[in-house]
């Protein structure tokens, strides 16, 4: 059975939801306190949503110095699947494990709403099981979710198929409608929408399943 570690920083709040999400798909999930430095027991790591360290300073700015982050970096360097959801995405960019940065939303308000995202690359642990061009209804829930990067970075991301998800109707001013990006190898992915909140029609959408299912069975396809 796939074992997923869900990292908990003080201030994280979507850790139980992430556990619930991957557990539904048959994975065995476990919370990992941020002071832990050994991730060898896991087949995949999730950095969940929330407000690690209160999001003080900047989202992810303090969390990236947590002891667990060195272990996450090693895990990622060895090709292990790493997924940052929302705050987790912010932490991964601050830690330099993913390119770009996440700025305040264009409208300067927090936004919790459903969005439609389009799968724009299947070369990642999150999207390998999805179909290119597939539209998924997945909620967002963030204040600082506008992806930004310089022109050169954007070009690299596009050339390498690292933009994995785009908003159909950009809610937050994200550059090029980007909702999620991967590293070059495709094993580290961050996205602002919350796939774990879209796991059942009782709660409005089950479209997140295809993403988390890819992650749980993570095999990075060749480019």
């Amino acid at each position: 059975m796939t074992r997923i570690g869900v990292v908990v920083f003080p201030g994280s709040n979507c850790e139980y939801d992430a556990v619930a999400g991957v557990s539904q798909l048959g994975a065995q999930a476990e919370l990992v306190w941020h002071s832990q430095t050994d991730l060898s027991a896991f087949d995949g790591i999730i950095l969940p949503g929330g407000f690690a360290h209160g999001d003080y300073l900047r989202p992810g700015a303090l969390a990236r110095f947590s002891p667990v982050m060195e272990a996450v970096a090693r895990f990622a360097a060895e090709g292990g699947p790493v997924l940052g959801i929302c705050n987790g995405f912010q932490v991964l960019t601050e830690a330099g494990l993913l390119p770009g940065a996440l700025q305040k939303n264009r409208g300067l308000t927090f936004l919790c709403q459903p969005t439609t995202v389009i799968v724009t690359s299947t070369h990642s642990v999150l999207t390998s099981g999805a179909i290119l061009g597939q539209e998924l209804v997945i909620p967002i829930n963030h204040f600082s979710g506008a992806f930004t990067c310089d022109d050169a970075t954007l070009k690299t991301l596009e050339d390498n198929g690292q933009v994995v998800l785009r908003y159909k109707d950009n809610p937050n001013g994200s550059r090029d409608d980007i909702a999620g990006v991967a590293n070059l190898a495709g094993n580290v992915v961050g996205l602002m929408p919350h796939p774990e909140r879209a796991m059942s029609t009782l709660l409005g959408s089950a479209d997140g399943r295809v993403l988390l299912a890819s992650f749980v069975t993570a095999n990075v396809p060749a480019a």
């Binding site: 003080p10 201030g11 709040n13 979507c14 139980y16 939801d17 619930a20 306190w33 929330g50 407000f51 360290h53 209160g54 999001d55 003080y56 409208g107 308000t109 927090f110 936004l111 919790c112 709403q113 909620p139 829930n141 204040f143 919350h194 774990e196 909140r197 796991m199 029609t201 009782l202 709660l203 409005g204």
Partner: protein, 758 residues
């Protein structure tokens, strides 16, 4: 100002008889610190001295009530081994001067009330009241309050799933910010805010203490305290009384406290809210019938040179008081260290002291060091429970009959019903989109519909198929015209909202926002409102398990309209499928469930309706409340919807109660969210379009015959209104609007009023 001629006790807000009462409790003259303790604990805010005798008339018991009013939160048994704790509170005055922080700390405070009971906070709701948005200051208040709730609630990790949004100029100087929180716990883990066990320790958890929220007692700074060396002779104006919220601290505090409770390390626990340490220590000691020694020098401070009265009364946020046994201290300290929560022993539970007749009295002693000088020594109970109670004069407003006679029901309908309808539609999405409403994966129906509906699930809870439903409601216009019936109708509206998501109402909490209780008219309103709530709750079999009273909402001699806010908690026994909501479909039949005409001599009353108020017509009569008929109708609707939630097949495709804006607004809202029009038969009059009275529901069905039979068999009135479909909403010859127009106007209304970019 600092050399006020009045005696100190009056400057602190205590009356001469209150000083007399203190003298007789103590059998001596109180010292300055003791006076300060009484002043905050006997304030209206902490003691409910003007309202308490009236609140006693509310029904508070039912077999499923585990904890009624008086504790930090009310608790019901929701079944399956799960208890639900709920509480509502106001943060009106702080929000008026610093809307962001005022609202933020309001959320923080209500969460602590709930996790104090051992419950994990699972939802927040936020009834809000402002002046009309034509004024820039009101827009500033709205943006500040909403972002404060968003900033704190989202960060602390509790979803905000509903609330209310009312604009009326009576709130221009007194915005109301109420916040409700509900949480759940395994029934057997219920804890109460009690100190017991002589020798036990009182441990202060969380933030350090600063000069936050030291309001009235700050006069002591200039009253000359022992050894006053000028270090604290700050100008009053510079004294920060604004509390700043720290959701990150609160989040760690919640996790740490719940973990302490999981391990069984605490004997009792109590949040620090108004009146800070003095309140928490005296209340826990009073409940436990014990004494408490508090060492003021032990309390971690954020600011230099704080005086004992400041330390004892500070309202610094994000603090809790836990009573633990000494053996558990190392484990408690270690657990708190993990969560980076500061834990400090600040008190000892001590034997009660015999009074002059030999009866044991639990004394609150404030000391300088546990073995040091005693700075204050007063019976804990006298602070917590023995504030004087007032039966303030009450008087029915002299102009009430004239106001009621000025009834808009018979006004000639000038203007166009199309425009009237469009003007009544306001989508609050701009507000609730700023709130995380989905955390914990429980939210089946979030904000924006009739009631919020959530799975009853959370970390550490037994598995259950049940759901809980919540609604907050108010109707200040009706309450201004008739506080008794208006309040009863408010309770009814909550019940109707719950029925729309299939829930059976279980318990009420309330927040009574009123003007100055020293105005006899206000006291009359308060007393009437409480009677109305009591009558409705008795009629509908509902216990009131908690509440809050916010008085002195006046400025320049003008009181706000009486604004009792009702929070209602209900349960759905089986929640495996979402309720239909407003989502009617092409080809469905739309029906009106419940009496088509109001009881009494006005078939379509317009007094106090949104339609009339928008035209500046604020008078009139309030419709009568017939609890029995209402209850039958609501129960029928709840049953129909509950069947769908339980996964059973049904012909019902949509449901929405008729409330603010009347039948026309209900239809307009359903059109707006589905994007599908309707063709409705001619109504009797413009009155029928916009009239508001209780016990009506718009429903859609794809088998009208069967639905109508079921309603009639249940003794519920029902009438077919028309057919769903098309790109227009037509109501006879009275309303004809395109769906697009309805959608657009409703979506734009609030954003435009706030003068924001779309």
């Amino acid at each position: 100002m600092s050399s006020a001629p009045e005696p100190l006790h009056r400057a602190l807000g205590l009356t001469d008889p209150e000083l007399e009462a203190i003298r007789s409790v103590l059998g001596r003259e109180p010292n300055h610190l003791e006076l300060a303790l009484y002043a905050v604990m006997w304030s209206e805010h902490c003691s409910y001295k003007s309202s308490r005798i009236h609140l006693r008339r509310l029904p508070t018991t039912a077999p499923h009530v585990l904890v009624g009013p008086g504790e930090n939160a009310g608790v019901i048994d929701a079944g399956d081994g799960i208890a639900v704790a709920i509480r509502i509170e106001s943060h009106n005055h702080p929000s008026a001067i610093e809307p962001y922080q005022g609202a933020a700390t309001g959320v923080g405070g209500i969460l602590r009330d709930v996790f104090t009971m051992g419950a994990r906070p699972l939802v927040v709701m936020d009834p809000l009241f402002f002046g009309e948005l034509t004024d820039a200051r009101q827009r500033w208040l709205v943006e500040g309050v909403v972002s404060g709730i968003s900033g704190y609630g989202n960060s602390v990790g509790v979803p905000t799933v509903g609330g209310e949004l009312t604009f009326d100029d009576c709130y221009a100087s007194n915005p109301l910010v109420n916040v409700l929180c509900a949480g759940a716990l395994p029934t057997e883990r219920l804890v109460l805010g009690v100190a017991s066990g002589v020798g036990n320790l009182a441990v202060l958890l969380g933030s350090s203490t600063g000069r936050d929220g030291i309001g009235g007692v700050s006069v002591l700074a200039s009253a000359g305290f022992e050894g006053s060396d000028g270090a604290t002779s700050l100008d009053d104006a510079k004294r920060p009384s604004v509390q700043v919220g720290d959701p990150y601290e609160e989040k760690r505090l919640i996790e740490a406290c719940l973990e302490l409770l999981d391990h069984g390390y605490v004997v009792g626990i109590q949040d620090l809210g108004g009146a800070g340490i003095v309140c928490a220590t005296s209340e826990t000691a009073a409940r436990g019938g014990v004494g408490m020694d508090v060492d003021v020098t032990a309390i971690p401070l954020r600011e230099p040179a704080m005086q004992p009265y400041e330390i004892m009364t500070s309202e610094s946020q994000e603090r809790m008081l836990a009573i633990i046994t000494p053996e558990n201290w190392p484990a408690v300290a270690a657990l708190c260290a993990k969560w980076e929560v500061r834990a400090t022993i600040v008190g000892h539970v001590v034997e009660p002291t015999p009074d002059k007749d030999g009866n044991p009295v639990g004394m609150l002693r404030v000391r300088h060091g546990f073995d040091g000088e005693i700075l204050a020594e007063v019976p804990a109970k006298s602070l917590a429970d023995e504030a004087p109670l007032y039966d303030r004069p009450r008087q029915r407003p002299a102009n009430l009959d004239a106001v009621r006679a000025d009834d808009p029901t018979d006004d000639e309908p000038v203007g166009s019903p199309n425009e009237d309808l469009l003007g009544l539609l306001v989508d609050p999405a701009w507000v609730y989109r700023q709130y995380d409403s989905q955390l914990f994966l429980n939210t089946v129906v979030g904000p924006g519909r009739d009631a919020a509906l959530l799975r009853l699930a959370g970390p550490g809870l037994p598995i259950s198929e049940r759901g809980i439903a919540l609604s907050t409601d108010s109707n200040p216009r009706w309450c201004a015209l008739d506080p008794r019936t208006g309040t009863a109708l408010t309770v009814a509206e909550s019940v109707a909202n719950l029925a729309c998501v299939g829930a059976t109402a279980k318990a009420v909490v309330n927040c009574l926002n009123f003007g100055n209780p020293e105005h006899p008219e206000v006291m009359w309103q308060l007393s009437e409102a409480i009677d109305g709530m009591a009558e409705a709750c008795k009629g509908l079999g509902l216990p009131v398990i908690g509440g809050n009273v916010s008085l002195y909402n006046e400025s320049g001699g003008n009181d706000i309209d009486p604004t009792p806010v009702v929070g209602l908690l209900g349960v759905v026994d089986s929640l495996i499928a979402p309720p239909p909501g407003w989502a009617w479909r092409e080809g469905d039949t739309v029906v009106l469930v419940g009496a088509r005409r109001a009881a009494g001599d006005q078939p379509f009353p317009l007094g106090g309706t949104r339609w009339a108020t928008r035209r500046g017509r604020r008078g009139g009569r309030v419709p009568a409340f017939d609890a029995a008929t209402f209850a039958t109708t609501a129960a029928f609707v709840a049953r129909e919807i509950a069947a769908i939630c339980a996964g059973r097949p049904s012909d019902v495709t949509a449901v929405h109660d008729v409330s603010g804006g009347g039948l026309a607004a209900a239809l307009g809202e359903m059109v707006a969210v589905t994007g599908v029009g309707a063709d409705v038969t001619e109504l009797e009059s413009h009155g029928e379009l916009f009239s508001e009275f209780p016990g009506r529901f718009v429903m859609a069905t794809n088998d009208a015959g069967s639905f109508v039979d079921r309603a009639r068999a249940s003794g519920v009135a029902v009438v077919t209104l028309g057919t769903i479909g098309g790109a227009r909403l037509r109501i006879g010859g009275q309303v004809d609007l395109s769906v697009q127009q309805i959608v657009h106007r409703r979506e734009a209304a609030l954003v435009e009023a706030l003068a924001l970019d779309a």
